[in-house]
Symmetry: C2
Subunit: 449 residues, 2 copies
């Protein structure tokens, strides 16, 4: 039976079943399966590229008819070097620390009654992604490493590439690892099945969309499944009156120019009005030499000759060599602007005054708030999280750059010796000891051993 004969509900149910078994596959087997996937991608390189070429030919025809953009075609295209990178990414996921099994806390409730909180997989993770076939491999690898079953739904423009990569992943893992449950990964192809998938909030535990802001927004607005992701990064750099202006110029430049297309690049520069005339001319010259298109508020434009910013500019993620500049009266004015216009992603203050830094860092509601550093540091790799699962601007479950820990939850294990609640209730109730333990839960342990 081919996977096309399943319906989405059936596939998700199969993934749920597989998830229960996958949760107990040990680290060595999960890593061996990941290495087997990486090897298989190398071995089947020609096959993947041939399938991808079919997709690209079709997409280029759509491009000519004006139905696809060049950017979409570019994202779709694979080559031998990109495939090497993808296989290398899978290998690096295998090398990460195991996110499962750690005892997160341990507490004696009473003599012989011990409570353990242990990291376990979430269950069933779904991904819905546009164009890039590497998203399929990346999310499958992260899910397998963290013991989660995964539902993969790519865009129709990458159907052949996705189908081939999925088959390679399944063939590389089915059978060769006795403990790995078949069905841990499921590919959904039919476009109309996306909406059905997004309805299955009682069966799918987390969805990780990959694509444009509009695409992620669409997913967020059309499902009750928790979404791990972010739609936009409207990040700010605030240059305080007590900033080291030379440092501030370098940081403001790095935050915009080093890589403007990403979500942690700065979009609006806030400058304390008392240092603006000293600070701005040099920076503006440097920005303009790098090709940055600048727009400012009226006060800024009295100092430097740049375009006019509209209200919309303060909430725009340019994702390009564009920047808006606004003067503020003090750090509180800056905080107010950021809290009103930012996207809770990453904000940075430049100041030599520790109290001012404190006011900014504690006063702003964002996943990451920096002092004297470029916003571009907000990234799972730079943070040392290992594999980056995504960046979340939500506040529930995981916030900011998210590592494999974001694909885990916990379970309480209580080890007793026939303990009854009646013993701890009523007139002769015994008290609890509630004493922290430094022991790990080991499967099958008995309390007090």
């Amino acid at each position: 039976m081919s996977d096309n004969e399943h319906d989405t509900d059936g596939q998700v149910t199969e993934a749920q079943r597989a998830a229960l078994r996958l949760a107990n596959v040990d680290e060595a087997d999960r890593n061996a399966a990941l290495r087997s996937i990486a090897d298989a991608i190398h071995e089947h390189e020609e096959e993947v590229l041939a399938a991808n070429a079919e997709d690209v030919t079709e997409a280029e025809a759509m491009l000519e008819r004006g139905e696809y953009t060049q950017a979409l075609v570019d994202r779709l295209k694979l080559d031998a070097s990109k495939l090497d990178d993808i296989a290398g990414m899978v290998e690096s996921v295998a090398e990460q620390d195991d996110p499962l099994g750690a005892t997160l806390s341990a507490r004696e409730l009473d003599e012989g009654l011990e409570l353990y909180r242990v990291a376990v997989p979430i269950g069933v993770i779904a991904t819905v992604f546009e164009s890039r076939p590497d998203a399929l491999v990346q999310i499958a690898a992260l899910a397998l490493k963290s013991g989660n079953a995964v539902i993969l739904k790519g865009g129709s423009e990458a159907n052949e590439s996705n189908r081939t990569l999925y088959r390679i992943i399944r063939e590389a893992t089915d059978g060769s690892f006795e403990t790995l449950p078949a069905g841990w990964a499921q590919l959904i192809e039919a476009h109309e099945e996306v909406d059905r998938l997004l309805e299955l909030d009682d069966k799918v535990d987390l969805v990780m969309p990959r694509g444009s802001s509009e695409f992620v927004s669409y997913i967020q607005d059309n499902t009750q499944i928790p979404v791990l992701g972010h739609t936009e990064g409207v990040c700010h750099v605030y240059v305080d009156e007590e900033a080291d202006l030379s440092m501030a110029e370098d940081v403001a430049f790095d935050a915009k120019v080093q890589y403007p297309a990403v979500c942690n690049a700065v979009e609006t520069l806030l400058v304390n009005e008392s240092v603006a005339s000293e600070f701005l001319p040099g920076l503006v010259e440097r920005y303009e030499a790098a090709g940055v298109e600048l727009r400012g508020d009226a006060a800024t434009r009295e100092i430097v000759d740049i375009g006019e910013a509209t209200e919309a500019d303060w909430r725009t993620e340019y994702g390009d060599l564009e920047l808006s500049i606004k003067l503020v009266s003090d750090v509180y004015d800056a905080i107010e602007h950021v809290n009103a216009n930012g996207s809770k992603h990453t904000e940075s203050i430049l100041t030599e005054n520790a109290e001012t830094a404190e006011a900014f860092m504690t006063g702003i509601d964002a996943a990451s708030v920096f002092h004297n550093a470029s916003t571009r540091f907000a990234d799972g790799y730079r943070y040392g999280l290992g594999a980056e699962v995504g960046i979340s601007t939500g506040k529930i479950h995981a916030r900011g750059p998210v590592g494999l820990e974001g694909l885990t939850t916990y379970k309480y294990y209580l080890e007793g010796d026939g303990h009854l609640v009646a013993t701890y209730a009523g007139e002769d109730a015994l008290p609890f000891t509630h004493r922290d333990l430094d022991t790990d839960w080991t499967p099958g342990r008995r309390a007090g051993e």
Copy 2:
């Protein structure tokens, strides 16, 4: 201007503004405000009871017309002793450890570039609750302790009680604490505003419903705001062939009879078929003497003379002195039954065999899995979590009994000295050190200090 003149959107916006300031109110001020609320509840006891009497009179009229149930009227009714308990609860929340400000992790990214992950409030929490006016006070207290603004929406049957308690809370905190922002608590009265509130998923960070299973289900199905709560507890006790049968009898009895109305009481008893005829007769006699109504599958009814269980029984939370019994062939049969029929709340195995215990505990997907202990231990107080915020059967953010930690998230603080990402990119890229630190972030600290 009275609060009635606000619309829900305006109140939520006011709460958002207050949340930004409340996040930085120090522990002593938050605790002083809580104690002030507790005192005010004592002082205004007569006023609260008078308002509650109005609600009760109205509700009793509705009861006579068959529109309300006796249970609703009972939940609604306050008396001096209940008010004392409520004030005592607020005081105990003040005495809890501060859930805010702790450095959860610290890492050097490079020399002078230090990343801190610090516990902060979530932002705006909403509660929607039925009948019990104590839910209003409890959630307001938990929110204030954890630095979150709160939106309170009670049922119309408790309008007078809620309005009075809300006014007392506001009067006890507004003004007397300079740092506490007015607007941190908002009461919504109009029934039609519930749906509006549930739509505000971009402004409300978490909703905590309090009420019946049906009520919590309604909230979950009608909002994209993350919900902290649970709808039902279909908990199991499995008696293995290697159980200490005397211990098993006591635990199975405690799990049902000690307090049958709560979500962590057992609903289905699974018994290994090889010990059923030895185990069941004595337990059934004890259950029946305690007034428990029993229903069993065919195999069980060959051993003991009890009613017949239907398929629906396996998924029913009786919440009462009722229990279903099923024989299983081994631990894997038990695991399969639980994973298919349970509500991921709390499950317990009785066995002296550590490997069998391991199979059950790791094989079942539930928030709490116990070995030789009553399911009734699944509770924030017994777990030593301090104040119980709720019990979650979801897997995202918080699972099982949830303490004040469940009302917090984290924020990354990065302290640098003008660090640029360009330094760590390209051909001459410097490596990161990614070294764990054991220092706490202190507001305004400079990296390396």
